[in-house]
Amino acid sequence: MSERIPIIKTYKLAIGGKFPRTESGRTIEVHDSAQNLIAHVCRASRKDVRNAVEAASKVQGTWANATAYLRGQVLYRLAEMMEGKRLELAHAIGAGGEREVDAAIDRVIHFAGWTDKYPQVMGGTNPVAGPYHNFTIPFAMGTVGVIAPDEPALLGLVSLMVPIIAAGNACVVLASEKNPVPTMILSEAIATSDLPGGVVNLLSGYRDELVEHFSLHRELIGIHASGVSEAHRTLLRLGSADNLKRVTIHEDIDFFDDAQCEGPGWMDPFVEFKTIWHPSAV
């Protein structure tokens, strides 16, 4: 009996709830630790980034306007779908994969619970010195770009992405360059999670090619990144000079540490606090 020839899958991009190939027609080979070819992923282009931002911006308002209760349930559903793909994800991560997947799922659970609590914890009424009712509410800011670290490929990405969407934003994510496969598996979990198509868009490709396009895209109002080089950090911060992007870049962070990676502080940079005044005198 001859040995079975395995199928080598080509992972596609995830844009607007669909799985297109890159418009550029380019792919990248992915090898395992023994240098065996295990898959291909798409090598996204500038046009793919633009398509993804467009898809995200189109659906962001719908997502932000969903009730906080519903958004919480949808994120919980995402955790359920990841749990179903637990072994596949762990296998794609390699050594230590199960621990990482568990931490990533738990992180989703953590932020799923914030959707209907964050506005109470970080908003509130302001006791102004006058006859006014005055209150502050956080609102989603729009579409945010995420540059995931190389490692931990899945947990790093999830930690950067979930606070953004929990706050009602949409995002465009550039996956770990070193191991993009877990991200592309995650896209399959997202597609079945009830998240409206386009709230999360996942791209694989090279940071050297794409970071610039994230930085300069005027429809992106925020950037959340970790594990980027000094040159890329500067490039991303230059986006602030272009359209006042809100840029947050984490360094020296242990994504396995809940104390560092949980809490409302992860959502603060991706909301706009709106303060509303109304006279309360007759």
Partner: protein
């Protein structure tokens, strides 16, 4: 004889207009002059406030600070070079460990002392602000100075409560903060910057705008009087070059800037390759939306408050007025009437509503916009009857009708007493036209319909939304913008985020 014509069935028509000034006898009931009589002591020349002392700039250079209402020189102010900035940053760095290490309660007590001293010297500060900046004394007396003192009082109380302010976090100071402020609310902007920074344990180097340094220098004296540890607050005076030296300085951990969007973007570019933290409070072109079911007389007051307060030198000024089409004529008539009673002139007169334009440069800018407004086809309504003084920089408040959204005066920040009036038909149209701007600082909405007002407030891209009111400020109320109006908030619990890490 009736002056009211019958309203037609289809549209509410404006009543026939009555010249209000003529009806009350023209100018015969004008107010007598009511000049503020306090004259604060102003030195001929000021040094830089570094390490708790006033010292001369290394270059020995000074520039004149002028009263824009008279063009008289008030004092000579030191021009800080990059070497002076260096000394100030070093003083702030040296003071940092002790200040950050002080208990929150003791930091707070120094700040309470500052607040008290500002209250005690309120009259003097208000007069100085008006002399140096040109704003009406009633505004510096009733708004700028009381709010500045309140800001210190409010933040003094935060100093020992930071762990309650940011749940689950252990806030640490950012370090040495470089703060650059504008000329429109000199002392108030100083307090918005310095008070939260000190409460969170930071030390500061602050640069006031070159046309309005005097209250900042008086504030420096207050720091001396209350025994604030040396180097915790440093004031460097100067123009753009001094600010640039601060932005580029490696010893500064955070830059906080309030000013124009152009300069804000340039600062963002400069600090991109560093790890400096940045908060920016930039320009605006805020929309003030009047629905047909608004209380019109209140709305008119809100329009006036929104755009003519402080000569329109307000980043959140309601400079785009959107009026529902059915009431456009009535609003224009009422606005014309109301503006015929605005008094423009001597800022030191307690009856003055609109004072002097802050500088020749700003007056030139406003006049360029006025010319553009007419060239692009809008109709100017020059309805303010005041006679302008011969000396000084003045601009009569005015408004334009027939303004298209594409017109320059409907898109760009003028920073003067100039209002663009536009119309709309439906709430959705009002919202989309209001949001059609790269800015997103503030907005106003006027209607007596509760559900509509909250729905519109929710949908406006603006960091501050005033409903049936405009241009209200409070230390407990976070202030800051969406989109290209900047990032970060000042005031309230949210303002602390910018000064902790």
């Amino acid at each position: 004889m009736s002056i009211v014509s019958k309203p037609s069935a289809s549209k509410i028509e404006a009543p026939k207009r009555l010249d209000l000034r003529a009806a009350i006898g023209g100018g015969i009931f004008e107010y007598a002059p009511a000049p503020e009589s306090v004259r604060p002591e102003i030195a001929d020349q000021y040094g830089l406030f570094i390490g708790g002392e006033f010292i001369e700039p290394i270059s020995g250079n000074h520039f004149a600070s002028m009263n824009p209402a008279t063009e008289d020189t008030l004092a000579m102010v030191a021009d800080a070079s990059s070497a002076d900035v260096d000394r100030a940053v070093q003083a702030a760095r040296d003071a940092l460990p002790a200040w950050a290490g002080l208990s929150g309660k003791n930091r707070g007590k120094y700040m309470y002392r500052i607040a008290r001293r500002m209250q005690e010297r309120a009259r003097e500060l208000a007069v100085l602000e008006t002399l140096d900046g040109g704003k009406p004394i009633k505004e510096s007396r009733d708004v700028d100075v009381p709010l500045a003192a309140a800001h210190f009082f409010y933040h003094a109380g935060w100093a020992d409560k930071l762990k309650y302010a940011l749940p689950g976090r252990d806030p640490k100071p950012v370090g040495v903060c470089g703060q650059i402020i504008p000329w429109n609310f000199p002392l108030m902007m100083l307090s918005w910057k310095i008070a939260p920074a000190l409460a969170c344990g930071n030390t500061v180097v602050l640069k006031p705008a070159e046309t309005t340094s005097l209250t900042a220098l008086r504030f420096a004296q207050i720091c001396q009087e209350i025994g604030l540890p040396k180097g915790v607050v440093n004031i460097v005076t100067g123009a753009g070059e001094t600010g640039k030296a601060m932005v580029e300085h490696r010893g500064i951990d955070k830059i906080a800037f309030t000013g124009s969007t152009v300069v804000g973007k340039a600062i963002a570019k400069t600090v991109a390759s560093t790890k400096k933290k940045l908060t920016l409070e930039l320009g605006g072109k805020s929309a003030n939306i009047i629905f047909e079911d608004a209380s019109l007389d209140q709305a008119i007051e809100g329009i006036i408050e929104g755009i003519y307060f402080n000569q329109g030198h307000v980043c959140c000024a309601g400079s785009r007025l959107f009026v529902q089409e059915s009431i456009l004529d009535r609003v224009v008539d009422k606005l014309t009437d109301r503006m015929s009673t605005l008094r423009v002139g001597d800022p030191m007169d307690k009856n003055t509503d609109v004072g002097a334009i802050n500088s020749k440069e700003q007056l030139d800018t406003i006049e360029r916009f006025l010319a553009t407004g007419e060239n692009e086809g809008a109709t100017k309504h020059d309805v303010c009857p005041s006679t302008l003084p011969e000396k000084g920089y003045w601009c009569k408040p005015c408004f334009y009708t027939g303004v298209q959204p594409s017109h320059t005066i409907a898109r760009e920040e003028i920073f003067g007493p100039v209002l663009a009036v536009l119309s709309f038909r439906t709430p959705d149209e009002a919202i989309s036209r209001a949001n059609n701007s790269p800015y997103g600082l503030a907005a106003g909405v006027w209607t007596d319909k509760g559900s509509k007002i909250f729905d519109v407030a929710k949908k406006l891209d603006a960091g501050i939304v005033w409903l049936n009111t405009y241009n209200k400020f409070d230390p407990t109320s976070p202030f800051g913008g969406y989109k290209e109006s900047g990032f970060g908030r000042e005031g309230g619990r949210h303002g602390l985020l910018a000064y902790c890490q």
